[in-house]
Structure formats: C-alpha cells, structure tokens
C-alpha cells in the first residue's frame, strides 16, 4: 500500500523520554483520524516497546532509541529499535509473564500488551547488536 507519510525520530534512552515518545507517535498517528481508544492503544504499545529498550536493550545505560512510523491509507506501521543487548530467545521472551528481570518488578507482560493493542507484532534481534520491534495497526477511515 502506498506510503502517505513517514517519520523517524532518535532520542536518548532516558525514562523521561517515554512520555515524549508516546506523544510523538500519537500526534503522528492522529493524521489517520483514529478514535481516542485507538490512540490510547498505540500509545500503550509504544510505551511497552520503548521501556523495553531502556531497561533491557540498554539496561539503564545511555543509548539511542529510534522510532520510525509509516502511515498508509488504513494502517500505521511503527518500528521501535535499539542497538543494545539483543534478545537471546525471542520466542521465549514473547511468552506471557516471561521476564529476564523479575527482580526489577517486571511482570513479563510487555509483548502480550503490544500484541493485544496492535494488530501484528514482529520482533527481530541479534545478540549484542540490538532489537527491532515492528508493530502494525489498522485504522479504518470512519465517516
């Protein structure tokens, strides 16, 4: 499908940027005329992915997080990328309630939430190189 609009943003892996990332993606997504619920879904999914970059990808050290968003006629595609630790076993990581950091009060729900709030989630990762989470959501034109 034809690309209507596109943006890429790089920011530091600081926790104060989590809210910033949510607003940026939501503001961009608003061009597809979503409902407030759809916007809330997108914000939540982005929040999960960005938080993962901060606490798992970079383990709270400083690094760059990149979010890319593509708007097509009825769909938003969002990539959340880090150049951090990477995921050893993606299938295991995506299991509900599986977390590598129980001591940090993580419940292992991030991927489950992303999968529930977006329509499709793909994860690419290489140990020591980084991780890209790609998420897709259909936003039908309402009138």
């Amino acid at each position: 499908m034809e690309i209507l609009n596109e943006m890429t943003i790089d920011f530091l892996s600081k926790s104060q940027n989590e809210a910033f990332a949510r607003v940026v993606v939501a503001a961009f997504a608003s061009q597809l005329n979503p409902t407030l619920d759809e916007l809330a879904d997108i914000k939540t999914a982005v929040s999960e992915a960005v938080t993962n970059c901060i606490i798992h990808g970079y383990e709270n050290n400083l690094g760059t997080i990149r979010i890319k968003a593509i708007l097509r006629e009825n769909e938003i595609e969002i990539w959340v990328q880090d150049w951090g630790k990477g995921i050893e076993d993606i299938e295991k990581a995506r299991q509900p309630l599986w977390t590598s950091k129980p001591e940090l009060d993580r419940s292992g729900m991030g991927f489950t939430i992303m999968e529930n709030f977006m329509d499709r989630v793909e994860v690419e990762s290489t140990l020591g190189k980084g991780t890209i989470v790609k998420m897709y959501k259909t936003i039908k034109n309402k009138k």
């Binding site: 809330a40 940090l104 419940s107 729900m109 939430i113």
Partner: protein, 111 residues
C-alpha cells in the same frame, strides 16, 4: 505529575497524577518508600482518578506492593480506574489480586 498522600482511617491513600509509566513508577516508589519509612501502614489504596494511562511498569509496581504488603499481612486496593487503566488491569490479571472499590468509604469498609 506526581504523587500525594492522604490518610483515611487506617488506610494510606496514594493519589497518583499523570501517566503511570516506567518513569513515573520510579518516582512513586521512591516517594512511597520514603513515606512508609516514617510511618507504617497495613492498608494502602491507590487512587487512579488523575491517571489516564498505565503500562506494564504500573502493573509491576502494583504487583510489587501487593507482594510486600502481603508479607506483613496487609492489603492493597485501587479506586477510580479510568478506561485505559481498567483494560491494563484486565489484560494483566491484576483484578485477581488487587480489589477495586468505588471510593475511599467502600475501601475502608471492605479492606
């Protein structure tokens, strides 16, 4: 953005304001730990009235408090859940361990 505290009978009410993400959870935990060091409570009620967003970090926070309060025979509750927060509670199964009340009065009676 932030957290304020209020005491209602023997319950510590934690008034949250803002989006309960990883960043805010850190702040809430810090302030809450500080508060609990000065005075212990066995009952804690999180007020979500001014929270219109929560993610897995908020879930983790609530589970963490549930566990630590359980150890001392205490209870954790929540009030005033908004729409998005409610969804996160449902999806993460939080309703199974954190009871939600309509207001402080009901919480006080039932906790």
């Amino acid at each position: 953005m932030g957290v304020t505290f209020k005491v209602y009978n023997d319950i510590l009410i934690v008034n949250l304001k803002g989006e309960l993400d990883h960043h805010m959870v850190r702040i809430v935990n810090e302030k809450l730990d500080e508060y609990l060091m000065r005075q212990t409570f066995k009952k804690i009620l999180f007020n979500f009235k001014h929270v219109n967003f929560m993610d897995s970090s908020g879930v983790g926070m609530l589970i963490g408090r549930y566990k630590s309060f359980q150890k001392i025979g205490g209870k954790v509750g929540a009030v005033n859940l908004g729409k998005q927060v409610r969804r996160i509670f449902e999806i993460s199964g939080l309703f199974n361990i954190i009871p939600c009340y309509n207001d402080e009065i009901e919480a006080s009676e039932k906790m």
